[in-house]
Symmetry: C2
Subunit: 452 residues, 2 copies
Amino acid sequence: MTEPRRILLNAFSMNCVSHIQQGLWVRDDTRQLEYTSLDPWVDLAKILERACFDALFLADVIGLYDAYHGGPETSIREGMQVPVNDPALLIPAMAHATEHLGFAFTSSVLQTHPFTFSRQLSTLDHLTRGRIAWNIVTSYLPNAGASLGYGGLPSHAERYERADEYLEVTYKLLEGSWEEDAVLRDTARGIYADPAKIHKIHHKGRFYECEGPHLSEPSPQRTPLLFQAGSSEHGRDFAAKHAECVFIVTNRRRLKSAANIVEDIRRRAARHGRAPEDLRFFQGLSPVVGGTETEARAKEAEFLEQLSTEASLAHLSGSVGVDLGAIDPDRPLETFDSEAMQGVVKGLIESAPAGTRTFRDLARANMAGQFLTGSAEQVADVLQSWHEAGVDGFNLVYAVTPGSFVDFAEGVVPILQQRGLVQRGYRPGTLRDKVFGAPRLPARHPAAGFRR
Amino acid sequence: MTEPRRILLNAFSMNCVSHIQQGLWVRDDTRQLEYTSLDPWVDLAKILERACFDALFLADVIGLYDAYHGGPETSIREGMQVPVNDPALLIPAMAHATEHLGFAFTSSVLQTHPFTFSRQLSTLDHLTRGRIAWNIVTSYLPNAGASLGYGGLPSHAERYERADEYLEVTYKLLEGSWEEDAVLRDTARGIYADPAKIHKIHHKGRFYECEGPHLSEPSPQRTPLLFQAGSSEHGRDFAAKHAECVFIVTNRRRLKSAANIVEDIRRRAARHGRAPEDLRFFQGLSPVVGGTETEARAKEAEFLEQLSTEASLAHLSGSVGVDLGAIDPDRPLETFDSEAMQGVVKGLIESAPAGTRTFRDLARANMAGQFLTGSAEQVADVLQSWHEAGVDGFNLVYAVTPGSFVDFAEGVVPILQQRGLVQRGYRPGTLRDKVFGAPRLPARHPAAGFRR
């Protein structure tokens, strides 16, 4: 690509009441309570497209967060990622109201057989004319495994083995089953497709069996743009092999550690025969933008007042599989040396501001630390510094929706556009065209090995 | 219900090139080649809603028709239900462009785990404000079973046992998991839902395991309106137990046999403790409507000229699991006495016009016999006679789309409205409100047994 490396922008959301910044759904200026209606989603998509965002990124979970205090009660009371509806079904309505915006959605390899899922992917990619990305996840909530017939959550290693085979089946269906010129659409002779160019895949693996062929004809991207967010060893290796876009969630004060992750995954990708330009890295950030810094700080203070520590700890506990509710909130931080939960707490402590004393303070500091607060100019500066350090784009977390995105779109985007860092319009073509300059996965990607 | 029994109208379509009337996709006046775009679907939904149709009914298959000549070649060449995309993903865009139209979509119990599928159902029912119907099918194509990891198609009996348990899991999730007043949305106290009123289902059956709870909060209908189309013994019993709307496909000249099926299934339903008014029956019909009968006949003659016998036989062969391609087309009908395929051929012969001599003639006559051709008045008369014989509604098959539906909407609907047989507007509420006058399944339905 000859054009200068631009900042990629995704809005991060979820088909539920409360996504990341817990407790704010009660506010009058957020549409979180309308999540079961199409209108707020269609409105959001239009806002994002006007601001030249690359995509709306929809998170998902398929189970309850039930580690905190040993049960799901806090999550349920706080609407903390439960109830949670299917994200994919929001996309067609938003796609019909937009032309260029991409739609990344999350689907776990545990939830749907790859034959069924591949058809969902192709259908969405057709209906959006190639604007789909799939965020590949392996699930971390035990309740998800128990509700899907696995008798509990498969081990971390097994989930990644499953994921690897799941991708293999998907690639065979999406890339290998229908040849490029299989579809003729020949109305004169009455021939729609050429049977000699459509192939069964005859997959028989450890976890999946699939005869094929794929039921959908090739969509604009064939395999949609691939997102992944693993941070463990397995996760990084999986990303290095399969992902085109990697979602990293580093504490926002630790730019250096984000840069290290980027470098590490790029190095791993090289071992899989992939090139550095085959991957893009997105950092999660939660901007609170004001006309001035003072205005932004006032907004932040209001949010901090309303944030729910309980819901935030329930979220964190479920994410790491440790009951942080078992910790006495008044416990001083210096006593956390040799505990089972030391890893989690250690991570929190390292990123806490100096002077944080108790576990309660730590939990609050952790929530507060998620906000990137400032004038539009200040927030733009921070994004630019991350971008210069090697991060390609951002998944922007809302405090209120669509308000947080509107503030960013109206304040920060024009500044970044003036600096030549954010696009002023969309390039033509599919989402992969827009992000990588080509409609299909490159020949270096493992999916290409399944092409005919 | 005190209002007079009205005729229910569905448009019947499928997310593919060629649905029922094969070979017509090549015409200039049909939008079948645009099936991968949202526009023709959104346009169709608006047409149907203007004409007060009850629903768009989307068929589906999840495998190839490969019985004819022992392979899928004919199906593929003719675009005969392959490629075929996911029907559910069309609905959100159509729902956003309409207010009252219902959306029935087909999903096989073989294709998605009931935990994942139940969330799709609830999400769609939320997004459409209660306008969803699920057409429950068990699949009949061996290729579907082979592509979904069943190592082939499970036996007919096993598929219905699976279906029964699949429904049980679905009912537990949709009806039993969240109590009626579980959702509080209490912004003052910051409580979204009451954990004491949300329950795991702990299902452990022969085919499925599911801990629960359901991830979605109750949608307007909870369990969407239930369609089913089984015609076998198992199929009729299943319909009698579970279905609210039954899709019957009888030869259009055999009104009496349709009336017998209706009576038979109502009788079976009574044995399950259900009332006659709990079920509605829909007959499939393919109207060809002209300003005059002569005009309609001319249209029909054009269609007949273009219909594909090959694709039609491939369709029929796959549906019944018999290779009709093995039959010499010139074989006289009187030689079909004691053959393996006698049953299928016998059915065709019984409904063929007198004077049909060879198998080729028979195949053509079968296709031609599907059309209900006439002036708007004549077609309205036929629908009225079926309605008087006990059929409640119709799934209307297109020859060209949306043309066939437009002809019907502009010609036949106003006449039936004048006769007081078709609604002139929608009653408020969910799809079930519109069809049955209540938003939820009645207490007599087996799903009600899983409520708390």
